[in-house]
């Protein structure tokens, strides 16, 4: 089967290339017509490239729910300049090569006007290349890998990023530690890092060391383990000896559960545990640990009790039966961004929409829409800026994450203070 598919791939590529040439000329023809009379009935096509099959399909489903929800809202209001929105879905199935061919299909055959994607940064990168090549504006709602907007990608001026970067996630964890003293009255001065030996752990360690000085935090130690550990008591004892004010961690779910259980067994209660999502925000984390999970905090992109997100979450839940998550909230926002940009540009011409996106500033609320539902109040794609010593391009520098803490078995937003309605539980009860 694989061999057969491999044989088919060049064929498919050739076909899309052909279609690409044909589509290109058609595109200009349509562009010519746009100035004519019959445009108002035509839909505006948003291309999406997410995993709809394979083991990442569940993630893709949440993203597409957010997009559909926004499209419905906008169409109910009469669309954009009288034109309805239409979502054209591509499926990258978790694979970069598939992502590329899907991007080409959407652009050359479906003639999408703008593009959204993807949730795996490696796929996002190749799709951004294709969009750049064809001049289709693209916003990623959720790809957090720092390097997508670095010096190497400086020339990708059709590519914009809404979500915070990986290193911003970690910077916000440190900001939270610093700010927490306003509520707890106790300053956090020392931190220890507890994490997997694998790449996720190394990334956490790199980012913490990048920002620790800036926030006046001393990293007293790094304790790591091999993923899928049989036992973590040695690691917990090592942390107990280091006795930091706070522990920062990133683990897959089985290790995260074993970690908290072992804390309990070894009778060690760190005052503060802040996780970089991952296993700690897995739904089974709370069900497996029960009350022992109370007090664990984590980075979240969105939480149902965010002061500016509670309302939409209620409506969303009525439609889909599940809470909005970070992915659905961020992709919802991107659709509204495209609306604002297309209105500003006055057309769906790629060049004009790109220019409008670069100049767009959303302050507080969308025109005709809601307040920004994420834990920040401004969206502005900054053309060029400096992040911890390296240049980045066209990121939304106002983006930030929120910190939520498990209280009475549910995630409660505790930071940023202006978006939260719960107080930090300190020290973490863990019972």
């Amino acid at each position: 089967m694989k061999k057969f598919l491999k044989g088919l791939l060049p064929l498919a590529l050739a076909a899309t290339m052909f279609a690409g040439c044909a589509g290109g000329s058609q595109g200009t023809a349509e562009g010519g017509e746009t100035t004519g009379t019959e445009t108002s009935g035509e839909t505006i096509k948003i291309g999406t490239i997410y995993a709809m099959s394979g083991d990442k399909a569940a993630i893709g489903e949440n993203i597409l729910r957010g997009i559909d929800f926004a499209v419905e809202e906008i169409n109910k209001q009469g669309g954009i300049n009288g034109r309805m929105l239409e979502v054209v879905r591509g499926d990258h199935a978790g694979d970069a090569a598939t992502g590329r061919s899907e991007a080409e299909r959407l652009i050359t055959q479906e003639h999408v006007d703008v593009m959204m994607g993807c949730h795996m940064s490696t796929v996002t990168e190749v799709v951004a290349q294709v969009c750049q090549q064809y001049g289709v504006p693209m916003i990623t709602a959720i790809s957090t890998l720092d390097k997508l907007s670095d010096e190497e990608h400086a020339a990708y001026d059709y590519f914009f990023r809404l979500c915070p970067l990986n290193s911003i996630y970690v910077e916000d964890m440190l900001k939270y530690l610093k700010d927490s003293s306003q509520q707890t009255g106790e300053e956090i001065k020392t931190v220890a890092i507890f994490t997997d030996k694998a790449a996720i752990g190394q990334e956490l360690i790199r980012c913490v060391n990048l920002f620790a000085d800036q926030y006046g935090l001393e990293v007293v130690g790094e304790v790591d383990y091999s993923g899928g550990a049989a036992d973590l008591s040695a690691q917990v004892l090592a942390l107990k000896q280091l006795n930091p004010d706070a522990i920062l961690c990133d683990s897959y779910v089985n290790d995260a559960v074993l970690f908290v259980n072992t804390l309990k067994e070894q009778n060690y209660k760190p005052k503060m545990i802040v996780a970089k999502a991952n296993g700690f925000t897995d739904p089974s984390f709370i069900t497996q640990l029960g009350s022992a999970a109370n007090g664990v905090a984590s980075v979240v992109e969105f939480n149902s009790d965010l002061t500016n997100g509670a309302e939409i979450n209620k409506e969303f839940k009525e439609v889909y039966g599940v809470d909005m998550n970070g992915h659905s909230a961020e992709s919802y926002t991107v659709v509204w961004l495209f609306k604002a940009a297309i209105e500003k540009a006055g057309s769906t011409d790629g060049e004009a929409v790109k220019k409008a996106l670069a100049e767009l500033v959303i302050d507080g609320a969308f025109d005709g829409g809601r307040n920004i539902i994420l834990p920040y109040s401004k969206i502005d794609f900054v053309d060029e800026y400096d992040l911890a010593g390296s240049k980045h391009y066209r990121d939304n520098t106002s983006a930030s994450v929120a910190i939520a803490q498990i209280q009475d078995g549910a995630w409660k937003t505790v930071w940023p203070f202006e978006f939260s309605s719960s107080q930090i539980a300190f020290p973490a009860p863990l019972e």
Partner: protein, 287 residues
């Protein structure tokens, strides 16, 4: 000092669990001279069995222990009868190696299909209980598992030493042909032995549910340590497995405490290799 004491206690309790894992592997290896590469997966099957008995029948994990052991014994006996006995005839080690490895893959993928990849656990009122003894804190489930280990060790030791079946098992382990000549049903002894080994893995799995998550690859890390226990403790020796397990647990904890937790796995495996090489040298010198 407190930390050292705590690390020693942790090492002994953890090692006790490794010993229990190694015990089953050891019996199988000692009698049948085959390495049971699916021992870790059998542990996982024991965990899911306990989970099902708890969720669907409401049986407390510790009360389910004899039942799990019994079911696992029959599972082991069936596998021995249908798969391993025919393979033993071929006298091919690679055949058995692939058979048990393949069986392990089958079991973990079967669990993936049946139960999904999400992590389950059994939370009882006592699973997070700890007992403070001076400066040291001891988790109740780990203490219970250590007590079970002691009971199992003594029971196995007396069973093999004094009972008729135990004597037959030892006879077969020393010389299967001789034993057969004396009228011992070797096939039946193999059936018993493999069943017993798997039952021990099931007991370990049942106990493990109280301090570890249940998922299809849960047994992998433990299966490997069971092998180390067998090799270090000496083939077929019950007290050997007991002490080797505890030694392994202590070694992990001490190397983490005095060197770094990052290197404790590495140090364990280096020690394992050193022991293998030294033993080989001693055997060669004797010859």
């Amino acid at each position: 000092m407190d930390v050292l004491l705590q690390a020693i206690v942790n090492g002994i309790l953890l090692g006790g669990f490794y010993a229990l894992m190694g015990m089953g592997q050891n019996i199988i290896f000692g009698v049948m001279k085959i390495v049971n590469f699916c021992h870790g997966e059998m542990l996982m099957v024991g965990m899911y069995l306990t989970y099902m008995l708890y969720t669907y029948a409401g049986i407390d994990p510790y009360l389910a222990l004899p039942l799990v052991a019994l079911i696992m014994f029959f599972l082991g006996a069936v596998i021995q009868h249908t798969l391993i006995t025919p393979s033993l005839k071929t006298k091919s080690f690679t055949n058995l190696l692939f058979l048990t490895v393949g069986l392990g893959l089958l079991l973990s993928n079967g669990a993936l299909v049946l139960f999904g990849s999400d992590y389950k656990s059994i939370r009882t009122s006592y699973s997070q209980t700890t007992i403070p003894i001076g400066p040291v804190s001891v988790a109740l489930p780990r203490l219970i598992s250590f007590c079970v280990l002691i009971v199992v060790t003594i029971a196995l030791f007396t069973f093999l030493k004094y009972s008729t079946v135990g004597k037959q098992i030892r006879a077969v382990s020393q010389n299967p042909v001789g034993a057969e000549v004396c009228g011992i049903n070797v096939k039946r002894i193999y059936l018993l032995t493999y069943g017993l080994g798997i039952a021990l893995a099931g007991i370990a799995g049942c106990l493990l549910t109280q301090f570890y998550s249940i998922f299809p690859t849960a047994g992998a890390g433990f299966g490997f340590r069971a092998l180390i226990v067998v090799v270090v403790g000496g083939l077929g020796s019950i007290p050997g497995a007991f002490f080797a397990g505890i030694l392994l647990g202590l070694l992990e904890q001490m190397s983490a405490l005095f060197i770094s937790p990052s290197y404790s796995d590495m140090i364990v495996f280096i020690t394992f290799i050193v022991i293998l090489v030294v033993r080989q040298l001693i055997i060669m010198r004797r010859k």
